[in-house]
Symmetry: C2
Subunit: 307 residues, 2 copies
């Protein structure tokens, strides 16, 4: 079985959308990535940090899904990272209401020995120094996938670029791709970002889907048009988790297979947004996932015969 | 050979984009639709109106492509409809700088006898009263396709709804679909619009592609990601022209075949935006179109085997 190492926040979120609001609930990029990747038959481990205010029930949600948490540091007397945000009516934009780094401020990731040879490493959005530290700890990894955001482009660009130079795949959203490259056209942006290091660039466009670029080729996975988007939190991380989970499970990191991986990522993300927080991901079963993959096929596949 | 009747403006445009500006050049929805539809082997006729300031050269551009202009009324002493607009840097929004209706103000469309039995009628964006007059003149038409815009929703909603109730397909953009239906979700919007009459709803999302809805099914055609969008003018009309041209040529108005039609529409629209105005459409050859269709296949087709 392939090993997948996930590095990312495990956190409390408080979310407001036009449909309602939550108290502190389970959140964090590492959580969403792990819940999504655990849909696949892979040996999955999370490296992260929480405080001792983090409930055992939440830890059980991960271990019940065979997510190894040996690399999850529980800091005694520490408080777990907390994020709070409010979505606007269009659900595409949000305001951050509160960010309390807490134990995340001093996070020094330690990759457990039995995950140092992980086949795939997924670096969730974190300080580039943390991401770099993980890159230095792993050995013989076949594929490193990086997620990041505009915050690090503004504050830690040179370090971020060093990280980018060492990874195989980068996933960022369209605005971040434009910021990082200085190009408005996503085709040009992806080319410039590939020149920084990664062989593959995945540009996430939210409700407008995701683009995968490799050499002069590109592939597009739409987002499934939904009756209702209830809470977009974690959709990008769920996408990334589906992407790496599928790749790890299929043991094939070719461009052709990455097309399937972005479809699986989009598919899983389409569930994530249907309820608050991780709720929908926790109740998901394989039949639902397979049925919706057929919707993706119906949505995108056509038959034109060309000479 | 199938007959396709196109009703739409034939006009002068003056366009400013971040890349440059034009003097008065050939424009109008009817023009773009006809140039796009004439890529297919169909008997294509335009019903429209111009002034006698409209150059013979521009008329020749249409007739050279076997577009019948018996229904193009040339008003003696009249001036041709003129539109001028400036695109913002993102190319997704624009300001109208000038609109001179001129001969369009009194346009009373007359469908030539030999197009009254057109297999497909494409009603380009025009006053709903003009669109209704055409609907009343055609007989035994198999498919009526309607394009419209928010302007008519604001000013002539009840008449527009009467027109909508009589057509088979409506093509509008995402914001207009939301305005017309009062629903933010495009899935819900399309359902409400289908309840108004059309069996098929095509929602155009510009650079984010187009969605086709029919009953509980949907299909998505991406826009081809381009190195550079030079001038978006006419892209929506070129899409519509490709859609109806393909349907007329293939003589198959099933949902399955409409999937191909939106792909052809997207494909032709991707050329339209590469140069100013109609320039790129006028030089287009069949080999280029076929090659780019292969790019659409590569962009969207994947192989996941589900049980």
């Amino acid at each position: 079985m392939s090993k997948l190492l996930i590095v990312g926040t495990v956190a409390f979120d408080a979310i407001e959308t036009p449909f309602g609001k939550t108290d502190k609930i389970l959140g964090g990029a590492g959580t969403y990535i792990a819940l999504s990747a655990s849909q696949f038959d892979v040996e999955c481990g999370v490296v992260s940090v929480v405080g001792d205010d983090f409930p055992q029930d939440y830890l059980n949600l991960l271990t019940d899904r065979n997510v190894n948490i040996d690399g999850l540091n529980i800091v005694k007397g520490g408080k777990t990272f907390f994020w709070s945000g409010r979505y606007h009516n269009d659900m595409n934009t949000r305001d951050t209401l509160d960010t309390q780094l807490n134990v995340l401020a001093d996070f020094s990731p330690v990759v457990p020995d039995h995950f140092k040879d992980a086949d795939i490493v997924m670096l969730g959005n974190l300080h580039p120094a943390v991401q770099m530290s993980v890159i230095e700890q792993v050995e013989s990894t076949k594929l490193i996938v990086l997620d990041t955001m505009n915050f690090w482009m503004d504050s830690e660009l040179s370090l971020l670029k060093e990280v980018i130079s060492k990874v195989d795949v980068i996933t960022i959203n369209d605005e971040e791709a434009r910021q990082l490259s200085g190009e408005y056209s996503l085709v040009k942006a992806a080319r410039k970002i590939r020149d920084m290091g990664p062989d593959y660039v995945v540009i996430k466009k939210g409700e407008h889907g995701a683009l995968l670029f490799h050499k002069e080729e590109m592939f597009f996975a739409p987002a499934l048009p939904l009756e209702e988007v209830f809470d977009p939190t974690g959709a990008g991380d769920t996408f990334a988790g589906g992407f790496v989970g599928y790749l790890a499970n299929s043991k094939d990191i070719s461009f052709e297979n990455m097309k399937n991986a972005v479809i699986y990522g989009s598919n899983l993300a389409s569930f994530c947004v249907e309820k608050f927080g991780t709720e929908r991901m926790l109740e998901l079963d394989k039949d639902e996932v397979d049925r919706r993959l057929k919707s993706f096929q119906a949505l995108t596949q056509f038959e034109i015969n060309l000479a």
